[in-house]
């Protein structure tokens, strides 16, 4: 079996499982946020059960429309706080956490080998830690609140084998964009994407999270990476739970894959997803002259400390071009604090970038940093759909923190290697 099959077999009390069969899995952890939580709470109340199945396994995180941008949002947040209080649930409120997919691992809620569901499509991020993690909707979340169980079709798996060393200013974000460009927005529907190979083994947790985060953008049910010493180091001091034997989470030599795709990153250039689909990917060097009005560095894809360091490295001593709004959003309070202590915030503010509080920000177009008709944003986030960041007549390009920072300086989509060559 591969790692995903091993986790689903264990969670459903079976020795083995095969692709296509329905596993009735026990859930180890469920997360809902402020846009999906209130609907889940409402649905839960209709079921007629008084208490959630296990209050230690339900986490609520406020991150999408925080601090409340309207009375409506404030009311929804209030609903969540009340439910958390009544049910004695862990809730990460404004200023106490940050973006859900950053907070969950940071606070030790993601354990290798477990089944985690979240009422957010990017829940697949936790696969970076060797957990089976997938997104669900609010009603389904309510059902899990009540039962602690979920039916899951065991997915076929695609093995993504990655070799080679990244060149300067080429990052895991460029790799995942390149993968999605090749596999396609629907190329991995219902399937598991297992990232493996020497490049993944030497990759930081931050990079692995970026890869697994965007697995859903090719339709995948989950993205997953075998846990190792890098995983163990990240989790040290973050959880008091016993970790499983990582050997038991390695895919067997004879594990079955629907197909294997090979990527060599050694000659890879910085990549960019052009409007309005995530698989419309090309090298940054091929997009031509695209002026921008907004540059966004943040989100659950690229708002971690390594991302901010990279952006700061490019922006240091430079200025955000007049006519461009650059927004920097650390993914969590922990990342915010770290960026402060490393002096990154000074670099950003000196460059003329605006730093916003740890939250989802402009990524989903529900809160701050929306675009007007005709405007263009280059963003480190994960979706460039029509209307995603505001006006349906606006355009969003997706790229790495280095590319976004370089573009903020020049005022147009820019390959960070070119900017450096000029300096």
């Amino acid at each position: 079996m591969n790692i995903t099959e091993k986790i689903l077999a264990k969670a459903s009390g079976k020795k083995t499982v095969h692709p296509g069969e329905i596993a009735d899995a026990n859930v180890d952890m469920i997360m809902v946020h402020d846009l999906t939580g209130p609907l889940a709470v409402e649905a839960f109340k209709k079921i007629g059960v008084q208490k959630v199945w296990d209050n230690q396994k339900v986490v609520m995180i406020l991150d999408h429309q925080v601090p409340a941008e309207s009375v409506k949002a404030a009311e929804l947040h209030k609903t969540m706080r009340q439910f958390a209080k009544d049910q004695k649930l862990r809730i990460y409120d404004v200023g106490k956490g940050g973006i859900c997919h950053q907070v969950m691992p940071e606070k030790g809620h993601v354990i290798p080998g477990t089944v985690i569901v979240g009422a957010d499509s990017h829940t697949c991020t936790y696969g970076a830690f060797g957990a089976f993690a997938t997104g669900i909707g609010s009603t389904e979340a309510a059902a899990v609140f009540a039962t602690g169980k979920i039916w899951l079709k065991v997915p076929e798996a695609i093995k993504v084998n990655v070799t080679g060393q990244f060149q300067k200013y080429v990052t895991p974000k460029d790799l995942i964009l390149s993968i999605i460009g090749r596999i396609g927005a629907d190329g991995a529907i219902y399937k598991s994407a297992e990232f493996t190979g020497p490049t993944i083994k030497s990759m930081s947790m931050s990079g692995r999270m970026t890869l697994c985060n965007m697995a859903v953008e090719m339709g995948a049910k989950n993205g997953i990476i075998e846990p190792d010493e890098t995983t163990r180091k990240f989790l040290e001091g973050r959880t008091s739970k016993a970790l499983p034997n990582f050997e038991s989470l390695k895919s067997d030599k004879d594990a079955v894959y629907e197909r294997t795709v090979e990527f060599d990153v050694s000659k890879m250039e910085p990549q960019i997803a052009c409007p309005s689909s995530v698989d419309n990917v090309k090298p940054v060097s091929e997009v031509g002259n695209v002026p921008i009005e907004q540059a966004f560095i943040g989100s659950c894809t690229n708002g971690r400390i390594e991302d901010l360091r990279l952006a700061a490295q490019v922006l240091k001593g430079k200025h955000v071009k007049d006519g461009v709004r650059a927004l920097v959003i650390p993914a969590s309070q922990e990342v915010y604090h770290q960026a402060l202590s490393e002096g990154l915030m000074e670099i950003f503010t000196d460059a003329g970038a605006m730093i916003c509080g740890s939250a989802c920000g402009p990524c989903l177009g529900g809160h701050i940093g929306l675009l007007a008709a005709g405007e263009t944003c280059v963003s480190t986030s994960n979706r460039n759909f029509i209307g995603r960041m505001g006006s349906t007549q606006a355009s969003v390009f997706l790229a790495s923190p280095a590319t976004v920072a370089a573009s903020a300086i020049t005022g147009k989509v820019t390959d960070p290697r070119k900017l450096e060559a000029k300096a």
Partner: protein, 167 residues
């Protein structure tokens, strides 16, 4: 839920994502009829009006990709959409639709066999889709019994309430 439905088709393309079905800026709306007023407006501002009479949405590949927002299938259901037929669905949308009692069926070849305005008839139990206007019919893989049961109960919550109270 009625296991046999009829209605005119409204056709869309591939990769219809949940941001175009229901943009993020409307996510604080609570009443599903308020959500419905904005269903698919990014692609067709007149959609909510057209859907009122009861329609069947036909999509291409990867219908409902992107955000897990259940508000997207809710907006479709309450705008008057009786059912969504597509070449393939994004998995979260597929589950969400079933869970709120909006039937969805995967049907290969449907998008090239249907034009907007064609009269369609769907029989869920038999797994049969008919384009009445063009005189063509499709036999699709039937939804598994436990999914049909959720649909006939009107959604997962109703299904769960019935099952948990039975215990």
């Amino acid at each position: 839920m009625n296991m046999k439905i009829k209605g005119p088709a409204i056709k869309f393309g591939n990769n219809i994502d949940t941001d175009v079905i229901l943009p993020g800026k409307y996510m604080t709306l609570v009443d599903p009829y308020d959500l419905a007023k904005h269903a698919l407006e990014s692609l067709d501002p007149a959609f909510p009006e057209k859907a009122k009479k009861g329609v069947i949405v036909v999509g291409g590949k990867n219908f409902g990709c992107g955000s897990s927002r259940e508000q997207a299938p809710l907006a479709l259901k309450y705008s008057g959409v009786k059912c969504v037929l597509a070449e393939s669905f994004a998995r979260i949308f597929f589950r969400n639709a079933i869970n709120i009692g909006l039937p969805v069926i995967e049907c290969k070849g449907i998008s090239s066999a249907v034009e907007t305005g064609d009269e369609l008839a769907v029989d869920f139990e038999a797994g049969k889709i008919e384009n009445v206007s063009k005189g063509k019919s499709f036999q699709v893989k039937k939804l598994p019994p436990f999914i049909l049961e959720i649909l006939s109960d009107g959604g997962l919550i109703e299904n769960l309430r019935r099952r948990m109270n039975k215990k």
